[in-house]
């Protein structure tokens, strides 16, 4: 044997072994062959972590176990999407059967990758007509390309919280309804303190808490993708108007750098040091859950809620807002998918359960029946968000094969715009469209 062949043996063997092993790297695939009437223990992973929220979901599980004595639910709280993704990729006995996500942005990715099981066969088996149970907008954000791999488990609607005392002090009688009123009120409500601020009317900077650009952008009703699925941000006049308004809001209140410096002094969003709750902001974009936190914290000022303002030329759409929500699904690797469906069905479609849970954690119910239920919390601040959720102009983000990657790209671009680093908006948006399309293409098989 020629000597040169000898050193090749080991690498070649290793390469062959590596490729063989790589070919076997797919995680386990579950099945829906189980009998849901047989005793089983389901693993349920969710993201709720506040004591009140955890109690609410545990109460829901207790109600489910009472209705299904053969199914025991092992619940794990405060789990992030990243942890769930890792567990589902790995599969195995420790992986969850029923999963939830606090963001709808990733649903497209979960459906397209097969990570979450398609729920349509389960709905057909149990005679659940999804179109009659869930509003279409919510069904849209829980499916991708015809694959309904998730169902809405309460929704979130975004509106505006405002400090009534600050409004009175500034002589403003009602919350703004148009963007020009918004800009004028924000300016009036802003109080400087030397080179910094005592209070900002509305903090427009996109990195503040829930202020990600897509949320405010929803007030313009943009269309993110054309019929072919290509990004069309540069073609949509709404995009330019949105950035123009955001810029005007920044300039009216002292400029980006001053606002950004003030923002870095804010406390944690979910604590009582939240900038709106501590009086540093007079108007604030946030979700319906904030009202419960405001009540629990007994903030030292009178506050109210209203829909976010709309562009002056779209006054008829006032009442609209951005919608998202928690979604629930079945892990592709679950070996108890029929039993898991019983839990998903109970959590998402059982009217009493949905209403009780919505009241307990102050989230918007996600079924027609629950939205109409007389048992639903009558708190007027909460009702404002229910109206936003049901407004025909309210908007959800379209699902994408790579999840929220296009939202991230839009966010990155928006950070540059607000910092004054984009000098040619049209050119920048065209480049952004190209990038989103390239990312989408790369994610497709």
């Amino acid at each position: 044997m020629p000597r040169w062949r000898i050193p090749l043996r080991a690498p070649v063997a290793l390469a062959a072994a590596g490729l063989l092993l790589s070919g076997c790297a797919n995680p386990s695939v579950g099945s829906a062959d189980d009998d849901p009437a047989k005793p089983v223990t389901l693993k349920f992973w969710h993201g709720w972590s506040a004591p009140g929220e955890v109690k609410a979901i545990n109460d829901s599980i207790a109600r489910f176990e009472k209705l299904h004595p053969n199914i025991r639910v092992e619940s794990t709280e405060n789990v992030t999407d990243a942890t769930i993704n890792q567990a589902l990729r790995a599969g195995g006995d420790k992986a969850p059967d029923v999963v939830t996500s606090f963001t709808t942005n990733n649903v497209g990715q979960y459906c397209d990758s097969g990570m979450w099981a398609d729920l349509d066969p389960f709905m057909r088996k149990s005679g659940l007509d999804k179109a009659k149970v869930f509003p279409k907008t919510l069904l849209d954000y829980t499916s991708y390309d015809g694959n309904q791999c998730a169902l809405p488990l309460l929704a979130d609607a975004y509106g505006m919280y405002y400090n009534k005392d600050a409004f009175k002090e500034a002589g403003i009688s009602r919350p703004p309804r148009t963007m020009s009123e918004f800009e004028a009120d924000a300016k009036k409500l802003t109080k400087r303190a030397g080179s910094s601020y005592k209070r900002v009317g509305f903090m427009p900077n996109f990195r503040l808490y829930q202020n990600s650009p897509d949320r405010l952008f929803a007030q313009w009703g943009p269309t993110y993708f054309d019929a072919k699925g290509d990004s069309r941000l540069a073609k949509d006049p709404a995009t330019y108007k949105f950035f123009d308004t955001a810029h005007k809001l920044v300039e009216a209140q002292g400029g980006y750098n001053a606002l950004e410096r003030f923002r870095t002094s804010f406390g944690d969003e979910m604590s009582t040091q939240n900038a709106f709750m501590s009086g540093k902001l007079a108007m604030h974009l946030d979700g319906e859950w904030r009202g419960l936190m405001m009540n629990e914290a007994k903030v030292g000022f009178d506050w109210g809620v209203a829909p976010l303002p709309v562009p002056d030329d779209q006054a008829e759409t006032y009442g609209r807002g951005y919608l998202t929500g928690t979604v629930a699904g079945i892990a592709h690797s679950s070996k108890h998918q029929n039993a898991a469906w019983e839990l998903v069905k109970f959590l998402t479609a059982d009217t009493d359960q949905v209403v009780s849970f919505a009241n307990a954690i102050h989230n918007v119910p996600s079924t027609f029946a629950a939205l109409k239920s007389p048992k639903l919390d009558a708190d007027p601040t909460f009702r404002t968000f229910l109206d936003i959720a049901q407004n025909k102009y309210s908007q959800v983000m379209p699902p994408s094969t790579n999840g929220g990657m296009y939202v991230t790209s839009l966010q990155d671009f928006s950070y540059s715009v607000e910092a004054g680093k984009v000098h040619d908006l049209k050119k920048g948006l065209r480049e952004l469209d190209r990038q989103i399309d390239a990312d989408t293409l790369q994610s497709k098989s």
């Binding site: 690498p11 290793l14 390469a15 072994a17 590596g18 490729l19 092993l21 790589s22 070919g23 790297a25 797919n26 995680p27 969710h46 993201g47 709720w48 972590s49 405060n78 992030t80 999407d81 990243a82 993704n85 890792q86 589902l88 990729r89 606090f102 963001t103 942005n105 990733n106 990715q109 990758s113 097969g114 990570m115 990195r207 808490y209 829930q210 410096r261 003030f262 870095t264 002094s265 804010f266 944690d268 969003e269 979910m270 928690t326 592709h332 790579n402 999840g403 929220g404 990657m405 966010q411 990155d412 950070y415 540059s416 990038q435 390239a438 990312d439 790369q442 994610s443 497709k444 098989s445």
Partner: protein, 311 residues
């Protein structure tokens, strides 16, 4: 039938037997992951469905269509050059100073070593708090001195230097290694140099430096390899400084502000585990591996040259 082996074959088997722990470790923890990474770099694979062969698509995507690749590579190389160089210089200077101190050396040794013991996440959180542009004590002290402090981790121009400052704060590990090397330099060589009329610089140049060169090279090579994998501190600093709320549904976008702290390992994580894009993540890993290998080989050759020169 008893198996009879010739003497050379028996010797080879015995050698392989002794080598087997290393061979198994090498195969499982190095060769297999490397081969799998090369394999997946040509595949479309989301870690759930079966991989599909896509040729050079992932490579083209990384090099031609991924706008964050350039900034991430630049940041990583910037950190490798600046952070490693400053850490070596600072660690060596501290070691030299403390070995020269007659009284209180123990106190200074402890004081400079202690920050190294702080867990990286806790140390980073504390550092971001200290350097908060609005409420941090550092800028408050600077304001008292009439100086307007920078925005530190909130300014793209200052974010990387702030990370370097953080790494210099935890210099204790290198300082201890350098102190051991410095205390190992034979005293008589210094005495001989003094008799020849050498000053402090000449003593360092002709006595200390040749003796500690292998340790310096060790510090540089390990520093380069560690910094190529820089991840946690940059991610935590960006996350805390940005003030963006992190909840179970939120996805952490590394690189705040303006991708100035984005490193290649962070991009690998984002691609592979947030965007389910294993192919592109593997390409990035291979690029990083190639650079790390090239730099390490260059340094090792340099080291052999230095050692040969010493001889």
């Amino acid at each position: 039938m008893a198996l009879t082996l010739s003497n050379p074959a028996r010797r080879r088997l015995r050698t392989l037997g002794f080598l087997s722990p290393w061979l198994i470790g090498f195969s499982v923890f190095f060769a297999y992951p490397l081969i799998a990474t090369v394999y997946f770099s040509f595949m479309h694979y989301n870690q759930i469905q079966k991989p599909d062969f896509v040729g050079l698509r992932n490579w083209k995507y990384v090099f031609e269509q991924m706008p964050l690749f350039g900034p991430a590579l630049w940041n990583t190389l910037w950190l490798v050059v600046v952070m490693v160089a400053l850490r070596v210089v600072f660690g060596l200077s501290l070691g030299l100073l403390i070995t020269k101190i007659k009284t209180g050396a123990g106190f200074f040794r402890t004081a400079f070593y202690l920050p190294y013991l702080a867990p990286p996440v806790a140390a980073t959180v504390a550092f971001v708090f200290l350097l908060n542009p609005s409420t941090g004590p550092v800028n408050e002290v600077l304001a008292h001195l009439g100086i307007t402090g920078p925005n530190w981790f909130n300014d793209a121009a200052w974010a990387k230097p702030s990370l370097v400052m953080l790494s210099l704060w935890g210099i204790g590990d290198l300082m201890v290694i350098f102190m051991a090397a410095l205390l190992d330099v034979p005293r008589e060589q210094y005495e001989a140099a003094e008799l020849d009329g050498a000053g402090a610089w000449s003593k360092f140049r002709y006595v200390t430096w040749p003796s500690i060169t292998p340790i310096v090279m060790f510090a540089v090579v390990t520093g380069v390899v560690q910094t190529m994998q820089y991840y946690t501190q940059a991610l935590v600093a960006g996350k805390i400084a940005s003030g963006v709320s992190i909840g179970p549904g939120s996805v952490i976008q590394p690189g705040y502000p303006d991708h100035s702290t984005l490193t290649v390992p962070q991009l690998v994580y984002s691609m592979g585990f947030q965007n389910f894009n294993t192919g592109a993540a593997c390409v990035l890993s291979l690029v990083l591996f190639a650079i790390a290998m090239a730099v390490t080989m260059l340094l090792m050759r340099k080291r052999s040259g230095l050692l040969a020169a010493e001889d």
